[in-house]
């Protein structure tokens, strides 16, 4: 099989080839390793120098030793886990995140760690201490974020699939901007143990893949109750591989705020076309109201920074990470944190500390938690009448590098369509549904808690009908092909 052919194989196809004796996992690993070593998108940090020693044993497990790219937010024992932060440059944790362990047990081989916005704070992967990641569809543009390295790596064929994390849209938005599939699972499905915390009540790990089938396969080995994560519940039922070819009997709800301004016309057109396709597959389309969704960004930018301000207090220069010396303790703390954290992280620490500080808690934190309740109720009511809610994943396509970095609020509004589902803790997927200005547009499908099987099935049917062509990105890298 030609090397270029190996990149073209989806994960599912690669497994079939291994089972048919046509492909050796070591050959596949080496293929991706060589491509990753030549990464010129800035997507990857650490790349394995050789396959894991137990690759032969992994071959007998369900994922057959397929290489996996992992967002740098996940701790991997002995392997740099830097979370995009200068403060954690070179940090090698003494333990591995549960979900990475689970995937290794299922037969994944760790290939690379991917770049990200620092501590997952951002929507462009520009807030990375190790340089920005470029979008393989257009190198002058961002891949989205915060899991931009994982999304770009999968889109550009630097890995067959990857792990990301989503707090307010950090899997779905980069998946949309890079033309791949990304799933944000129900909160609590996947263990957070070993995932460096951004906002604990929102963070959730999820898969990136080139298509819905691969996404479902990786996902099927990720969820489960972890005794080391008190907030984890797993999934009530196993993952069923998607097979649907039609959407007969499915009602899709379209939130009214999708009609608002702020959506790029090209995205709007691709979304409308996607709805037509859905109708063609037999779906019923219904307008719905999510009256409080428009307060989602406001509530999110209280809750997430508040939790983050506390979660990031452990980066104090005492037990790990870069320290800036000072003769006194407070000086050591403040200089270490000044030099170690980037501007966006500092910004959010300040917002979050302010929101929790004496006299402001009720006005900010407690109120935001109440908005969260209202949004969750909105969702519940909506899912009484529709099976899934659909919207564009992001109001625009991949934007030029540097265009939003100086305007935090406009960057935050990137997440307007993804954040409400995060606040409600419900699952949502982004799949590519078309192009605008030659750049991918993502369609988001959200469902009630633990409806991942339903979401994946509908996404599979739509994917078949969209016939999205991702080869432009796959062949965009100068990596060994």
């Amino acid at each position: 099989m030609s090397a270029g052919g190996l990149t073209d194989l989806t994960a599912t196809q690669a497994i079939a080839a291994i089972d048919a004796g046509e492909l050796d996992p070591a050959e596949l690993f080496e293929h991706y390793r060589a491509r990753s070593a030549a990464d010129d998108l800035g997507a990857l940090g650490w790349v394995a120098e050789r396959p894991p020693e137990d690759l032969a044993a992994l071959r007998d497990r369900p994922l057959r030793g397929l290489p996996l790219a992992v967002k740098d937010l996940f701790c991997t024992e002995g392997v740099p886990s830097q979370a995009g932060s200068k403060l954690l440059e070179g940090y090698r944790p003494p333990y591995t995140a549960t979900v990475v362990e689970q995937l290794a047990a299922a037969g994944s081989a760790l290939l690379s760690k991917t770049h990200q916005d620092e501590f997952a704070m951002g929507s462009s992967t520009e807030n990375c201490a190790f340089g920005p990641t470029l979008n393989p569809w257009d190198r002058t543009r961002v891949p989205g974020g915060s899991s931009g390295g994982s999304a770009a790596a999968v889109a550009a064929g630097l890995a067959p699939w990857a792990l990301g994390t989503d707090t307010g849209g950090s899997i779905r938005q980069p998946a949309a901007l890079c033309g791949i599939v990304g799933l944000k699972p129900t909160y609590g499905s996947v263990s957070r143990y070993g995932m460096i915390a951004f906002a604990s009540s929102l963070d959730q790990a999820g898969p990136f893949a080139r298509n819905v089938t691969d996404c479902a396969l990786l996902w099927s080995h990720m969820h489960g109750r972890d005794p080391r994560d008190a907030t984890s519940v797993g999934q009530p039922t196993p993952t069923v591989m998607p097979t649907a070819r039609s959407l007969e009997g499915i009602t899709l709800g379209v939130p009214a705020d999708v009609d608002g301004d702020g959506i790029e016309p090209g995205v709007r057109a691709a979304f409308d076309a996607a709805l037509e396709t859905a109708k063609g597959l037999g779906a019923r389309i219904e307008r719905i109201e999510l009256p409080h969704a428009r307060y989602g960004i406001a509530a999110y930018y209280v809750l997430a920074p508040a939790e983050a301000s506390s979660n990031l207090s452990r980066f104090d220069g005492v037990r790990y990470g870069a320290r800036v010396d000072a003769p006194d303790l407070v000086g050591m703390y403040t200089k270490t944190r000044h030099d170690g954290f980037g501007p966006e992280v500092k910004r959010r620490i300040l917002i979050g500390t302010y929101a929790l500080s004496s006299g402001y808690y009720d006005a900010y934190y407690a109120s935001a938690q109440k908005v969260r309740t209202l949004i969750a109720h909105d969702m519940k009511a909506a899912f009484d009448s529709v099976d899934l809610i659909v919207s564009p994943t992001s109001p625009g396509v991949a934007f030029p590098l540097g265009s939003k970095i100086d305007d935090p609020l406009s960057m935050y509004l990137e997440d307007a369509f993804t954040v409400p589902y995060s606040l409600a803790g419900v699952p949502a997927i982004s799949i590519p549904c078309g192009l605008s200005e030659g750049l991918p547009v993502g369609l988001q499908l959200a469902g009630p808690a633990f409806s991942e099987n339903r979401i994946l099935d509908a996404a599979f049917a739509l994917e078949g009908a969209f016939g999205f062509d991702s080869s432009a990105a796959l062949s965009a890298t100068g990596g060994a092909s």
Binding site: P93, A298, A366, K370, A449
Partner: protein, 94 residues
């Protein structure tokens, strides 16, 4: 609206040193973000229960059974300053 004094107060609480220029920029940026956040004020939230956890988990408690601790050299391996088998810091009294 958040002024320079408030930015400095919050930065002190968060143990963040900020340059003069950073304080000024933060005051402007944060004010803009807080203005957006304050749209929450349009809502009548009386009687609404705050949500801390979106999933219902019944007391996830741990059995009182010891696990193995990290070897000391592993625990100390990533520390910037190690002395006397511990993590050395400038004295809080200094």
């Amino acid at each position: 609206m958040i002024d320079r004094e408030q930015v400095l107060h919050v930065a002190r609480l968060a143990r963040l040193e900020l340059s003069d220029e950073e304080v000024g920029r933060a005051s402007g940026e944060l004010s803009k973000i807080l203005d957006h956040i304050e749209t929450i004020g349009e809502l009548d939230l009386a009687g609404v229960t705050p949500t801390a956890h979106v999933v219902e988990v019944d007391s996830a408690l741990r059995d009182d059974v010891p696990h193995e601790s990290l070897p000391r050299d592993v625990a100390l391996a990533q520390a910037p300053d190690v002395a006397d088998d511990g993590f050395r810091v400038p004295s809080p009294q200094a």
